[in-house]
Symmetry: C2
Subunit: 283 residues, 2 copies
């Protein structure tokens, strides 16, 4: 083992998920501790406040599942809001669509973006130079509060776990504001934690979103570096299941560009609610 190599773990309850590598940067921003570790298998990996966020080599499991179920349902010109997403992966997937007019990326921590541009350039790629992408260093909850009604076609919440500064992004008030600023035929999507490792918050998110929006569904999949590997994304719209209707004209080219997602994967993922979660929600 190279002397500069160490094991770095996310510790969750009495489990740990670790990678071995060399620390490239360990920086305390105004909001959190930001670490980048370089590993053989996952490339550069980002940890925020002790939790794995994303990595060069497996980030597509996450970003493709958050973005495509929302965007393939839209053919009209789109005005998009991304809350969080400082690594650039969500923006990159959005920018594959030729009907995107504007993306407001609202990230609380400018340092996450700067460090991602430098150390996770494989993730953001050339999104950062795209004129359709506008960076706003603001708290996500503040941004939605100050936004006018019926403004966005798509809202994508790509945030950290439900603790510290991200707590507000899993609250009733936040979901209500998102509904207000979403167009009548708009689509809301958020990462919704793990039904295995974060069961209570997962159930809470699903219940809140289902109460606020008229229609919601949860897609289950895997994110290899997250606790338990099992993860979820929840999609919502105001009337019919907008996010389950595949409209975009160039779906084939989107599928070909993806490592994980395709229409079949998406259709399967929407069915994979573990039976114990189904039982809990039916109580």
């Amino acid at each position: 083992m190279n002397l500069r190599q160490i094991w770095l773990d996310e510790i969750h309850q009495d489990s740990r998920y670790g990678v071995k590598g060399e620390i490239l940067i360990n920086h305390k921003s105004k909001y959190q501790e930001i670490i980048i570790i370089n590993t053989k298998n996952y490339g550069n990996v980002l940890m925020l406040d002790g939790c794995w966020m994303t990595s060069d080599k497996e980030e597509k499991y996450y970003h493709e599942c958050l973005v495509h179920p929302a965007l393939i349902s839209k053919i009209n010109p789109c005005n998009i809001l991304i809350i969080g997403g400082g690594d650039g992966g969500t923006a990159r997937e959005c920018l594959k669509y030729n009907n995107i007019l504007n993306i407001d990326l609202v990230e609380i921590d400018a340092d996450v973006i700067e460090i991602s541009k430098k150390y996770l350039s494989q993730i953001g790629q050339n999104s950062w130079e795209d004129k359709r992408l506008k960076i706003n260093i603001v708290d996500g909850f503040e941004w939605v509060k100050n936004c006018k009604d019926d403004y966005y076609d798509i809202i994508l919440v790509d945030c950290s776990d439900a603790k510290e500064h991200a707590t507000g992004l899993f609250s009733l008030g936040f979901y209500q504001e998102c509904k207000r600023i979403l167009k009548s035929d708009g689509i809301f999507a958020t990462q919704s934690e793990s039904p295995e490792s974060f069961k209570e918050i997962h159930l809470k998110i699903l219940n809140l979103i289902n109460n606020v929006f008229n229609i919601s569904s949860t897609l289950y999949g895997c994110v290899p570096i997250y606790p338990s590997g099992l993860w979820s994304w929840t999609f919502a719209s105001k009337d019919i299941n907008k996010f389950l209707i595949e409209k975009y004209e160039n779906i084939k080219s989107i599928e070909e560009s993806c490592d994980i997602w395709n229409l079949n994967y998406q259709s399967g993922g929407f069915k994979m609610m573990p039976n114990k979660i189904l039982k809990e929600l039916s109580k």
Copy 2:
């Protein structure tokens, strides 16, 4: 931290997946090192030769996915072969069906069964006392070689990773023997490793099974304690997709007994081949 508590990890390439707990037994059998560690969240966890096998609290992610897609397709009286399965979880799920006549459980290592009976009694439950279950301490490959043609209705391969004594259970010769001893309308099922953490062997298994049997499909799901969390099970039959036809009369009662699996979960899981695996198989 209790002084007797330690971190125990499965190390896979430059990742590690660890739990904190108290070692209850660390035993070297004729074939492997067998460890049971007691943890708060997962209960008792079994490790064989440094790899996590199963645990009290999340074993259903694995066992329900191996067994039910095969068994709900059968209404006739069933003669079942389980290769491996020394923890008893696969047998337990099979014994929920009232059309089971006989289960031959063929486990190479008697010590795994004895230790599981003592430390993982929540997994095997009262299966060990069921007269339909016959325990055979034999190498799985030897058992199938010596078995007569057209003998089993269902073959379930519930074995360790493709190394050491388990290598043979992922070989062309083994699959050919399984096909020979399977009845014409029988169903073959095997755990088929992770498309993320064990991509090469996963692709090999899928290709071999598809070449040997006429029909095969892979179900993807999660097993929280395995590397990356993403896992798979492959099902095969000799003519039509026997394992995709839901025949068993009491499916509702099976669904109600499950923590993870239900018909919807299964139908989703069969669609969740990651796009990069699909591309590899189409080459």
